[in-house]
Symmetry: C2
């Protein structure tokens, strides 16, 4: 028994330290150090090198450090038929909600334009919109979408959601499936993408979809870069059909310096920081599943192979 951490950022030591602090007995290794591959039964992964999971003959579970597991499914060289788990963290959800709420208010009040104006010493009052003036449409009503909707409703936003299936316990219109998609889009002055990235949702934010939105709509993508067709967004912004976009996620991260988003006046870029896994909050979940694996209990937050999330 043992855990290996596979990530390509500089956070392996941070996580290892946090997991050992919570349980000093646990055999845990970085994939970059010497480690007994035969003994590893759980791999903790975040954008691991493709193919790197092949080398653990006794692996029993692939556990994702975050909420989105699309990068695991993209690794077709991974051992198949193993359970994949993801993090369902209240902090991930509240962080995301606070970020998106901030982006929505920034849009209504033109904060990004005012910062650009300031750098040019320009004093121009722009008329603002109010919460009551807009309808926010949330695509994807999982844990993150529900948390955002709950916060927006507290502030009396007009909120609608689009999901695979009806939702209970929330007092807002939910549009479901392909047949209600266009009705949903026609009302969404501000479209927030919180979908999981799957075969069905790759490239979903494209020209055909944007044209269903009201003229002047604003797009916030905080899910995955793969949801967006970059050139279609630029076309819709330049035609004036969309008024702007806040993008936190990109096909390639960091965003390539020659990408046209950087210089586009209507695109507002943040470097994938809407919601970052909180080590203190996530560590107990990872360890709980590790102990469940050892004792043969059912794992928590197992991803559906069929749905891809």
């Amino acid at each position: 028994m043992g855990i290996v951490i596979l990530r390509q950022d500089d956070k392996i030591d941070l996580w290892k330290k946090a997991l050992l602090a919570a349980d000093p007995e646990i055999p845990i290794y970085s994939f970059l150090e010497e480690h007994p591959r035969d003994e590893i039964d759980m791999a903790l992964v975040w954008k691991h090198p493709k193919g790197s999971l092949q080398h653990y003959p006794n692996l029993k579970c692939i556990a994702c450090f975050g909420a989105g597991v699309d990068f695991i499914f993209e690794d077709t060289e991974r051992p198949l038929n193993l359970p994949i788990t993801r993090v369902v963290d209240p902090k991930l959800a509240s962080d995301m909600s606070e970020f998106v709420l901030g982006q929505i208010l920034s849009h209504l009040k033109h904060f990004n334009q005012y910062k650009v104006d300031q750098l040019k010493k320009v004093w121009v009052m722009r008329s603002y919109q109010r919460i009551e003036d807009v309808c926010v449409g949330i695509m994807g009503m999982g844990a993150l979408g529900m948390a955002l909707a709950t916060d927006l409703l507290k502030l009396n936003f007009n909120v609608i959601g689009w999901a695979n299936s009806p939702k209970e316990n929330i007092n807002m219109p939910i549009y479901t499936g392909e047949e209600q998609r266009n009705k949903f889009l026609a009302k969404a002055d501000i479209l927030v993408c919180l979908l999981p990235l799957t075969k069905n949702t790759t490239g979903i934010l494209n020209e055909e979809l944007f044209r269903k939105l009201p003229k002047g709509a604003y797009v916030i993508n905080v899910a995955r870069g793969g949801h967006l067709v970059d050139n279609d967004l630029i076309k819709m912004l330049d035609e004036g059909h969309l008024s702007g976009a806040s993008l936190d996620v990109f096909h390639t991260e960091p965003l390539n310096t020659d990408h046209p988003f950087w210089n586009h006046a209507k695109v507002h870029i943040t470097p994938h920081i809407a919601s970052v896994s909180d080590i203190a909050s996530v560590t107990p979940q990872l360890l709980d599943n590790y102990k469940r694996l050892q004792s043969g209990q059912p794992l928590k937050n197992v991803v559906s192979d069929l749905k891809g999330y």
Copy 2:
């Protein structure tokens, strides 16, 4: 009987049209056109030319278009002993609250820095703060302060207020008077100034006050430029005692192009647009007081000469 509008912006015709649409019979004039000065009994004012109110011998009321009446008291050549009224508008309060909430979230999530980064094509993740990490201190718990506090509480912000007198009907700590001021300041990670501008509050945002705030505190001034000692703010930012400031109001507006705020990386400027009087919402209030004046009924929202608001 008659109304004169005195403002120095380009909105006189807009307001005249709106008031006439609501009551076509009303005798209403711009101070820039020929008008029967003897017949004017109500002056509607927004930053009128000083001394211009002297020329109405039968004036009975000075009605402000907005919530802040400091500019009327500053006009020492105005006819004294006339009632001054101000606007108490739910939209002014909710607009202000939405603006300040947006500024708070922008600060927590570093949106202004990310916009500057984008212009330089810089991809740097900055660690963010959460709603739960900060305490927001509101100076001035009038209609605007109460509306903001109510919204912040809905989102589970830790909120405290500073006011002249205790407040009922709101579940948050209220610190009162000079003796509790320092206790209030010591807790305020984000300080929001929503005070009226009076003799007592002019220059209240100064080095001595800033030093009572926790190190790294953030200041949001959406009240009046006269509350702030500009050089003290710059000193506290440059020393690193304050982490930044959002300023919507200034001693001189538009802000002079050679003012150091424009170029200061920690100052975020908006051009006095936090809350702009909504014509549709304010017009009925102004007309109601005009009719009260004609029929001898008590006026609404009369300002206290003693308090200055």
